[in-house]
C-alpha cells in the first residue's frame, strides 16, 4: 500500500464563539460536515491490530466504522457503530475520548489522534433525525427467552443494559424515579453539551427495540427489589447511579442562594428553568456566582450560570490547575467563556444577610504539601490568608455519592462505607440472588461511558445466568 501523507492535526470541529454561546443554551460544538468527516476518516491508518478498540469500554469496531465514513457510506458506518454502541450520539459528545480510544490511536504517538469522538458523533447524527421508517432495519431479535429482567434506573448503565438484554431475547422493563428517562444525561449534563432531544431520540430507539419504560416509579418506595423478584422478574439490574449531593459542612451552607450542583443543574436542565416563566420551575439568578469544585459537574454548573445571565462566575478549587479532574476540553471551554478560576483556594464559610441570602463566600488560600492517599499533593491552608469573594450564589460541585434508597430497602445487599453496593466488578453480581449492579452505584461517581461499559458486562452476565439451568449463585 502506498504510504499516504499524514495530516498531523485533527480536523477542527466548528464551534459557536465564546461571546455568542454564553448568551444561549444551544450546543457549543456544531459537528463535522460530510466533507470534513470523510477527510478526518481518511487520517485513520486502518491498523491491523487496532489498539483504539482496547480503549473503548463498549468495544466499538472503530476502524470498521471509520473506513465506511472515509468511503462515504454513512449508513453502513452507523450500522457498524450501533452494533456495539446503542447510544452513539450521546457518546460522541460526552465520552472522554482523549483518555480512551484516542489515547491509544497509533497516530497519537507522533501526531494528533484521529478524531474518533467527532466521527462517532457525525455518524450517529446522520441517522438521529430520520423517521423510524427511513432507518435501515434493525438486526432481527433472537427468539424470546421467556425471561423478564427489571432494570432500576434509566441512566447510561441502565439504558445500555436494557438494550443489550432485549437484543439477547429477554423482556426488559426500565424503572425510572423521575418523569423522564436518561438519568444524569437529562438532569445533569447541560443542553449546550448534550441536547435533551438527542437523549429522548436515543431512548425512543430503545423503546422501538422493545424496552418497556416506566417513569415516575421509585424502586425502594413504589415497589422494592424483593417485590420485583417476587412479581415475575427473573433478575434485577440496579443502576441507580450516584445522585446524592455532597456539601462541605461549613457554616452558611443552608443560606438562600446556596445550591448543590445537582439541584442547580436539575432545575436548569431537566426542568428547563432557563426558560422560566414559560416553564414553571424557577431558579435563583445570581449576578455573581462561586462554583466550588473542578470536575466536569463544576464546569457544567459554572457555564450554566453564565448562560443564565451571571455577570461574574468564579470557580473555586483547593488544588492547582494540574489536578483539576474535569476533561481538558471542558476546562478550556470554561476559560474561553470567562470563568474566573480561583485555584488553591478553599471556602471556609458562606456569609449571609438577615433575610438568609448569600452575600459572600469567605475563602482561604491553600498551598500544595506532601502527596496524599490519592497520590496528589495535599492542599494545606495558608494561615491568615482569609478573604471574601463577593458573590450572591454559591454552587457546591464537590461530588455525589450513591442514593441509599435501594440498598436501604433491600435486605441482602451489602454496601461499602462510601455507600456503593458491593458487587463483582466484572459481572455486577451482588450477594443477593438474581440481583446485579453496575455503573456509579457500584464504582462511585465516574463517567457515562464507564457506566455504559458496566451495563454491557452485566447484561452479558445476566444472560449467562438466566440461561444456566442450574442458576447457581
Amino acid at each position: 500500500m502506498a504510504r499516504k501523507e499524514i495530516i498531523p492535526k485533527k480536523h477542527a470541529m466548528p464551534c459557536q464563539t465564546p461571546a455568542e454561546r454564553v448568551k444561549n443554551f444551544a450546543e457549543v460544538a456544531l459537528g463535522y460536515s460530510e466533507q470534513t468527516a470523510m477527510a478526518e476518516a481518511a487520517r485513520c491508518l486502518q491498523c491491523k491490530r487496532p489498539t483504539c478498540v482496547d480503549g473503548c469500554p463498549v468495544e466499538v469496531d472503530i476502524p470498521g466504522f471509520i473506513a465506511r465514513v472515509a468511503a462515504g457510506d454513512f449508513v453502513g458506518a452507523a450500522q457498524r457503530l450501533k452494533e456495539k454502541n446503542l447510544l452513539p450520539s450521546i457518546c460522541g459528545r460526552v465520552c472522554p475520548q482523549e483518555d480512551q480510544c484516542e489515547a491509544r490511536c497509533t497516530l497519537s504517538k507522533k501526531f494528533e489522534p484521529v478524531g474518533i469522538g467527532r466521527l462517532e458523533r457525525f455518524v450517529a447524527d446522520t441517522q438521529l433525525w430520520l423517521e423510524p421508517a427511513a432507518l435501515p432495519p434493525e438486526p432481527p431479535l433472537p427468539p424470546a427467552s421467556g425471561f423478564k429482567v427489571a432494570v432500576v434506573g434509566s441512566g447510561p448503565a441502565g439504558l445500555t443494559a436494557a438494550g443489550d438484554l432485549v437484543r439477547l431475547g429477554h423482556r426488559v422493563t426500565v424503572f425510572e424515579a423521575l418523569h423522564k428517562a436518561g438519568g444524569v444525561l437529562v438532569y445533569g449534563i447541560p443542553e449546550f453539551r448534550l441536547p435533551k432531544a438527542i437523549v429522548e431520540r436515543e431512548v425512543q430507539a430503545l423503546q422501538r427495540m422493545g424496552v418497556e419504560l416506566r417513569t415516575n416509579f421509585v424502586i425502594g418506595k413504589t415497589e422494592t427489589i424483593d417485590e420485583l423478584l417476587a412479581n415475575s422478574y427473573d433478575a434485577v439490574f440496579v443502576a441507580t447511579g450516584a445522585g446524592l449531593p455532597h456539601f462541605m459542612n461549613i457554616p452558611g451552607e443552608n443560606l438562600n442562594g446556596v445550591y448543590s450542583a445537582n439541584e442547580f443543574l436539575t432545575r436548569a436542565n431537566l426542568m428547563k428553568a432557563y426558560r422560566f416563566p414559560e416553564y414553571d420551575t424557577p431558579i435563583h439568578l445570581g449576578k455573581r456566582v462561586a462554583v466550588v469544585g473542578a470536575g466536569n459537574v463544576a464546569m457544567d454548573a459554572a457555564r450554566t450560570a453564565l448562560r443564565l445571565g451571571a455577570e461574574k462566575v468564579f470557580l473555586v478549587y483547593r488544588r492547582s490547575h494540574e489536578e483539576m479532574p474535569a476533561r481538558a476540553e471542558e476546562i478550556e471551554h470554561a476559560e474561553e467563556e470567562g470563568i474566573d478560576l480561583r485555584l488553591l483556594t478553599s471556602p471556609v464559610r458562606i456569609l449571609g444577610d438577615k433575610e438568609n441570602w448569600v452575600t459572600g463566600c469567605e475563602c482561604i488560600r491553600m498551598e500544595l504539601g506532601e502527596p496524599d492517599a490519592s497520590g496528589r499533593r495535599r492542599p494545606v491552608a495558608v494561615p491568615q490568608s482569609e478573604h471574601v469573594l463577593p458573590v450572591d450564589t454559591v454552587i457546591m460541585a464537590i461530588g455525589q455519592s450513591p442514593n441509599p434508597l435501594v440498598p436501604a430497602t433491600t435486605p441482602g445487599l451489602e454496601t461499602t462505607r462510601h455507600g456503593t453496593i458491593v458487587g463483582d466488578p466484572e459481572t455486577g453480581k451482588t450477594g443477593k440472588r438474581g440481583v446485579f449492579v453496575g455503573g456509579d452505584i457500584l464504582t462511585g461517581a465516574a463517567t457515562v461511558i464507564l457506566a455504559m461499559g458496566a451495563g454491557r458486562k452485566s447484561a452479558r452476565a445476566i444472560d449467562v445466568w438466566l440461561r444456566d439451568p442450574e442458576r447457581k449463585w
Binding site: 424515579a177 423521575l178 418523569h179 438532569y187 417513569t215 415516575n216 416509579f217 421509585v218 418506595k221 413504589t222 415497589e223 445522585g243 446524592l244 449531593p245 456539601f247 459542612n249 451552607e253 443552608n254 438562600n256 442562594g257 445550591y259 448543590s260 445537582n262 439541584e263 436539575t266 432545575r267 426542568m271 428547563k272 422560566f276 416563566p277 414559560e278 416553564y279 414553571d280 420551575t281 424557577p282 431558579i283 435563583h284 433575610e355 438568609n356 442514593n403 441509599p404 434508597l405
Partner: protein
C-alpha cells in the same frame, strides 16, 4: 397519565382531587407525600397524601391555590389528567401505641394530619384532635377529623367557628390542666408548627412536625429541601418529612420557603394576564 377521578372545593382556594394512581395507593402509609407535574412545562409539586383507597387504587390530595402552579392545578377537574404522579415518598409516620396523642392540623395541614390521626387511633391511642383556620369558611374536613379523633377541638382566629384563638390555645390548656399527653403531632404552616414546638418544649412533651420545604425530585437528589435539625443538615424528602419539633430550626425553614418569592410573583402575574386575555368562556368553563 394519571386521571383525576373526582374534584371538589373544600374552601375558597382549597381543592381536593382523587387521583387514579394504583401503585402509589397500594404502598402509601400515613405521613408520606407524592410529587406531581401538571403538564410538560410544569414544575414538580410535592403534596402530602391526604388518604388512599387501596381497593380503588386512588390517592387523595388537597392543595391551596397559592401560586401559578397550584392555580393552574385548580383549573383542572374530574376527567382531566396529570402528566406525572410519583410516590409514595418520604418516611411514613412512626405509629405505635403511645397512649394519648394530640393531633394538630392547621389550614391545609389538616388533610395531612388526618391519615396520621387515623393510623394512631387504629394503633390503640387515645387521639385528641385540634383543628384550626383563620375563619369558619376556611376550616376544612372537620367531620372527617371528628371521625379520626376521640375528641376534637376547633379554633378560628376570629371565633366564627369553635373557640376564638389559635390551635396552640387548647394545647396549652391541656398542659396547664395536667392532662397526660404522650405525643403531639402537628402539621400546618411553619409558623404554627413553631408555636406548637414552643408550647410543648418547656414541658418536655415529645412533638413531631411534618415539614413542607422547597424541593425538586423528592428522592434525595437535589438537596434543595435541606433543613437544620439539631444543628445538623437533613433532607426533608428522605430524612423526613417528620422531625422532632424541638430540634427544627423553623426560622431558617421559613426563610428558605421564601427563596423563590419574587419568581413566584412574576409567574403568577404573567399567568393571570394570559388568562384574562383568553376568551371568557374558556376561562370560566371549569368554574
Amino acid at each position: 397519565m394519571f386521571p383525576i377521578l373526582a374534584a371538589r372545593t373544600l374552601a375558597p382556594l382549597v381543592k381536593e382531587f382523587v387521583i387514579d394512581a394504583r401503585p402509589v395507593a397500594l404502598k402509601a402509609k400515613a405521613g408520606q407525600f407524592i410529587v406531581l407535574r401538571i403538564d410538560e412545562t410544569g414544575e414538580r409539586i410535592p403534596l402530602t397524601i391526604a388518604g388512599v383507597d387501596a381497593t380503588q387504587g386512588t390517592v387523595r390530595i388537597v392543595f391551596l391555590e397559592v401560586g401559578k402552579s397550584t392555580r393552574k392545578l385548580g383549573t383542572l377537574g374530574a376527567g382531566d389528567s396529570l402528566l406525572d404522579f410519583v410516590g409514595p415518598l418520604g418516611n411514613p409516620s412512626h405509629v405505635e401505641k403511645f397512649g394519648t396523642v394530640v393531633c394538630i392540623g392547621g389550614g391545609v395541614g389538616v388533610p395531612a394530619v388526618l391519615p396520621i390521626a387515623h393510623a394512631l387511633k387504629a394503633a390503640g391511642n387515645h387521639v385528641i384532635g385540634i383543628t384550626g383556620a383563620r375563619r369558619a369558611d376556611l376550616l376544612i374536613l372537620e367531620d372527617e377529623m371528628r371521625g379520626a379523633c376521640h375528641e376534637l377541638f376547633v379554633t378560628t382566629d376570629d371565633g366564627s367557628r369553635g373557640d376564638r384563638g389559635l390551635v396552640t390555645d387548647p394545647l396549652r390548656r391541656f398542659i396547664a390542666e395536667g392532662r397526660k399527653i404522650d405525643l403531639v403531632v402537628a402539621v400546618g404552616p411553619a409558623i404554627m408548627m413553631k408555636a406548637v414546638a414552643a408550647a410543648t418544649q418547656p414541658h418536655g412533651l415529645k412533638t413531631v412536625v411534618s415539614l413542607n420545604s422547597v424541593m425538586v425530585d423528592g428522592t434525595g437528589m437535589c438537596g434543595g429541601c435541606r433543613v437544620t435539625v439539631g444543628g445538623q443538615t437533613k433532607f426533608v424528602c428522605v430524612d423526613g418529612p417528620e422531625f422532632d419539633a424541638h430540634q427544627v430550626n423553623f426560622d431558617e425553614l421559613m426563610m428558605r420557603q421564601r427563596m423563590y418569592r419574587n419568581q413566584e410573583k412574576t409567574a403568577l402575574t404573567r399567568y393571570d394576564e394570559c388568562r384574562s386575555a383568553q376568551p371568557r368562556e374558556e376561562v370560566t368553563s371549569r368554574g
